[in-house]
Symmetry: C2
Subunit: 204 residues, 2 copies
DNA sequence: TGTACATCAGTGAACGCGCGTTCACTGATGTAC
DNA sequence: TGTACATCAGTGAACGCGCGTTCACTGATGTAC
């Protein structure tokens, strides 16, 4: 029960951190982009935010619970970016570029979002919902202007293109300088295959 | 120094296993398809093939060395499948289907091949070489029949499509029943975008 | 305005685990004479 | 054909590590009177 010294007052960190849940998520994201999904650890994340090893258990039931929460956050951000793009002047290209840019800016997170945690999304309702919203957005953007009978195929085609290009860029198999141009060029493909005579699609 | 009993003779496993290197690779592949790249462990693999924990160090310098070797094996198999397809009656579709089928039949291996180990492939010459051969094959198959100035873009487009579709199928985001049909449909896209008037590409 | 008490937020020690890797070793095999 | 010796293939104990999770706890805060 000693009185506080001046140093105590200056350097002591408060007993109540106040934002552990949020801070854990952002620490996890930093680790994600640094070392990939398997590089995330509860203990290391706690260390980074200056909190005890077990503090996160007040907010997350387990490590996977935290990761699911981070992934859900990622899907919400991706949805938001797609929303903006869809309402922009060039919805289709906008969407394509937003998707690829999100992947490149959030490499580790992108891997987490489409990794094993997503396969188990039934266990995490919030993740499930956030992912659903994103997929709907994509479907809408990709299906714009195509005939109803082709909507589904065109959506899958466009999504495959964007997802594949994003992955190849992240893995360094396609040079990044051309990412923007490729995203545009590559997306023409999905229009042409289903609507070969669509005059709104310029010749390559 | 007791004499061997009958049980010894019947059940005793030979001191010399004889195929440790190969067996480790195949154990790793089994674990890969079961639990993904992070589910592979040197100790567990050794256990599976009935050999001491450290036996693999005679053949592989480290865990990563083993994984690189497994990935290289994967690339060689993929190359072989693409080779067959290219020489078949319908090179383009054949290639598409071979790629997607390889991914679906070797989910964990596919993830390993295009994961972090590939990014560090400079460290593993054999992996590097095997991957290079595969990428060349893809480039050839995808560029067939397109004008020289478009070859590169078309190759990237086709690869993105196949890689993206494979990934989405593996992650369960696109139903597998349609994998074959989708691989075909989806591949039309890459022809149309670069050669919009190519008469060899049927209308969708 | 002060005090008692309930609730909340975070702590710290301890558990058991499987892992990758090192090291000096031993059992088995092949070769030369 | 037998023996000595070198080489090869695999062993087993030990190292230190970081991890996820549990548990009973303590310090800080908010509320009621």
């Amino acid at each position: 029960m000693n009185a506080l010294t001046i140093m105590d007052i200056v350097t002591k960190k408060p007993y109540h951190h106040g934002h552990v849940a949020e801070a854990m998520r952002s620490a996890a994201r930093a680790m994600l982009d640094q070392d990939g999904p398997e590089g995330v650890g509860l203990r290391e994340a706690a260390r980074r935010i200056g909190v005890s090893t077990t503090a996160s258990y007040r907010y997350y039931q387990s490590k996977d619970d935290l990761l699911a929460s981070v992934a859900a956050e990622g899907f919400r951000e991706l949805s938001a970016a797609l929303d903006v793009a869809i309402r922009g002047s060039d919805p289709m290209f906008g969407t394509a570029i937003a998707y690829v840019e999100f992947a490149l800016k959030n490499r580790g997170l992108f891997r987490l979002m489409f990794g094993p945690i997503l396969v188990e999304r039934a266990k995490y309702p919030k993740l499930s919902e956030a992912a659903e919203v994103t997929f709907n957005n994509l479907h809408l953007a990709a299906g714009r202007g195509s005939e109803p009978r082709n909507k589904n195929v065109e959506a899958i085609t466009a999504w495959s293109l964007l997802h594949g290009l994003s992955s190849l860029l992240i893995e360094g198999l396609v040079p990044e300088e051309n990412a923007r141009a490729l995203a545009e060029t590559v997306l023409f493909a999905s229009r042409r295959v289903v609507n070969p005579d669509d005059p709104s699609v310029p010749s390559a």
